[in-house]
Symmetry: C2
Subunit: 433 residues, 2 copies
């Protein structure tokens, strides 16, 4: 892991130190993904089955998970795992429910009632990857807010296992969220099927969830096409930035860095500290803990493009962090709470020594689908509002238009929009008559 001292870097070295690994799909990937999407769009389930055979090495008959499979999933899990899923779902639901957008109404003038009403997005598609391992936590993070929003059709796609079944942990988590339409389809074919619909898979208005580079590129492409689907947010590799002071626990900090690094070789982890000894100790701990990890190879590759950065002051660390806008920000500081006000852009923040990022991934209650690649500068993580549309409403009486109509006439005149003016003026005439 490269170690640098921020003050010793010139401007271009600083840019370089915070540069994320290149993320845009290659031209080859783009073309390949476009071809796959077109196949699914043109030939529906037939293409989905062919691609599943090609990429998942399994020949599928029915793509939909049956009720019997769902029932069997619950019994396949240990009670401890079922309890853990239930417990996590409960806290995620509590936190998300409390943050729900509210409807409201107010009179902006006598006789002019303006409102915001909320509606669930009718048809949503959730993607739960299962590349290196199944991700029941992702099913919860997508399924809980979809249920709170009240979406009518909630579709979930997850890759089949070699025997053609779906992972029971993912199924159990999906059921826990009330998801009834689960399909054993993965990768680009899943995204295309949900975006355009097939005989089996319903067409969805908006797609959610993480995935590998192909899935991410597929989501990008279907969101660009007329008749495609919207997507939750621009996705990129996972990342964490830790700001630690001299009092931080080096083993904890190293563990937090590694838990991000193990996500993938393109994950990026950054440590910023004003204490050289702490950085030394973390570097030592990284090596020690790497030896204990099953995914050490992946983590080691991620660490190659990561940085240990020594700063002069903690304020400097916050300036760097705000410029970088990390997905996860851990404040391993003695007075983390007081420093929170300095955070301008981050997906989710973890305060103090006892808040590892892994808690947010699973069960603190916050969502783990968060903005990556610096998108935290302009967008927040997934929440119930991501599954809803807000509609504004105005109800106007005769008194109402008499009160505000002249204002509209004046502005329409200034903008040279005759018909706008006329639509108001006709009514004002009628009210005056």
């Amino acid at each position: 892991m490269k170690r640098v001292s921020w003050s010793s870097l010139d401007a271009s070295e600083r840019v370089q130190a915070l540069r994320r690994p290149a993320q845009q799909a290659s031209a080859d990937t783009r073309t390949a993904v476009a071809t796959l999407i077109e196949e699914v769009r043109a030939r529906g389930d037939v293409a989905v089955r062919e691609l599943t055979e090609r990429f998942d090495q399994v020949s599928m008959d029915a793509l939909a998970v049956t009720d019997a499979e769902c029932a069997a999933a619950a019994t396949a899990l240990t009670p401890a795992l079922r309890d853990a899923i239930d417990e996590a779902a409960g806290r995620i639901e509590a936190f998300h429910r409390e943050g729900m957008t509210r409807e409201y109404a107010m009179d902006t003038a006598p006789g002019v009632r303006c409102e915001r009403v909320l509606r669930p997005i009718a048809r949503v598609g959730l993607y739960v990857p299962a590349g290196s391992a199944p991700l029941p936590s992702t099913a919860l993070m997508l399924g809980v807010p979809a249920r709170l929003a009240g979406c009518r059709d909630v579709v979930l796609c997850t890759p089949p296992r070699p025997d053609g079944s779906a992972d029971p942990t993912v199924l159990y988590a999906a059921m826990r969220c009330g998801v009834r339409q689960v399909f054993k389809v993965g990768g680009v074919q899943a995204i295309a099927a949900m975006a355009f619909g097939t005989a089996s898979v319903p067409k969805c208005d908006k797609l959610f969830g993480p995935g590998n580079g192909y899935v991410t590129e597929a989501k990008r492409q279907v969101s660009m096409v007329e008749g495609g689907a919207a997507i939750d947010m621009p996705a990129g590799p996972s990342e964490v930035l830790v700001i630690a002071d001299a009092g931080a626990n080096p083993a904890f900090v190293a563990a937090d860095l590694l838990s991000q690094a193990e996500h993938g070789p393109d994950s990026q982890v950054l440590l910023l500290s004003d204490d050289a000894a702490l950085i030394d100790a973390v570097a030592e701990q990284l090596e020690r803990q790497l030896a204990m990890l099953s995914r050490a190879g992946v983590a080691r590759r991620a660490l190659e493009s990561s940085r240990l950065i020594q700063v002069d002051t903690l304020q400097q660390a916050f300036d760097i962090s705000n410029a970088y806008a990390p997905e996860h920000l851990i404040l391993a500081l003695r007075d983390a709470r007081a420093w929170l006000s300095q955070v301008e852009a981050a997906g989710s923040v973890f305060l103090g020594d006892w808040a590892p990022e892994a808690l947010g991934d699973y069960c603190s209650g916050t969502n783990h689908v968060l903005p990556t690649s610096g998108a935290a500068r302009y967008v927040g993580g997934l929440n119930v509002a991501s599954f809803q549309v807000a509609i504004t409403v105005q109800e106007v009486s005769r008194d109402g238009i008499a009160a505000i109509g002249p204002c509209a006439v004046e502005l329409a005149t200034a903008e040279g929009l005759d018909a706008h003016r006329l639509a108001v003026a006709l009514r004002l005439d009628e009210v005056a008559a």
Copy 2:
């Protein structure tokens, strides 16, 4: 305007009847826009000045509007127009303030405090077009929520007039919203300048506002590029759908259809009614009112791709409207309020005979930047949250991790993520010790 009876249409004719005019930019447009963006990105202000000379036929020295120009703008307006802008700004501010997202905090378990905090997007860019006419109302619709959000840098670009000045109405509206950085730059060059920054124009994190096809394509392109800027929402031509019953006022309905049609030749307006006589009367009123409009040519072209649709029942009209997901939905119904619950997807809804869509454009208080092209199925209009990021926070004590740590360990184990498990387990060991 084409007139159809919904029941007499087969499935493909129904699709055709609701088809929007093609909206994706041509390959030529895309290439042209990409070239212009690249010029601005590479050569900054020099390119902006050249393009301004080419497209706006004016040679600009300073691009920034001076304080003196702002001061002069206020006095250039009639008192009535100043008052109208102030009045509209007041109601827009009141409605948007009431709908602001709130911060919240809760304990999801003993010792686990989860929160949502809000931060303004630091640097936002507002685009206010001035093609056929200046649009001070757009300056209000963008500037008011940006101010409420507390954005640090609010940049506004608007095309220069032939004499090199900015429209005083737009300037006055911008000042009313506290916007201090106004640039006389329009079109693709404005979008590129705000996305990438030039010596004069600050680089922005997110761009807002409507524009012609070139501006829309430029926004799309800069939002796709690493190092570019986010954008408010997918933009398309304006549209209105009116559902009217036998009791509706045909002159009002026709005026509302025309006030959308005059926006541009690609605007789309739809009337749905269960009453043939009302449709006849509206058709007659359309012809009569067209004769009174300065922009009759534009409106007439828009009407060519628009429809008068006779439905069997009002419920059928709502089914059609929900499938279409119009930007503006006018319910010219005797019991409009009761029908609101049937609306699943629309940008903004206008209830009853006295709520012309023009009121929403200017001064009811709601925002007029709304989802077009069916995007109302998955996104709402502009609001203060569009200018903010929500950050989740978790603060965990020793008791907190003792309470929820085992749940995270169980799930990390199920997902095969060792380092995640370890980050929690190390702390649990320490707590237990």
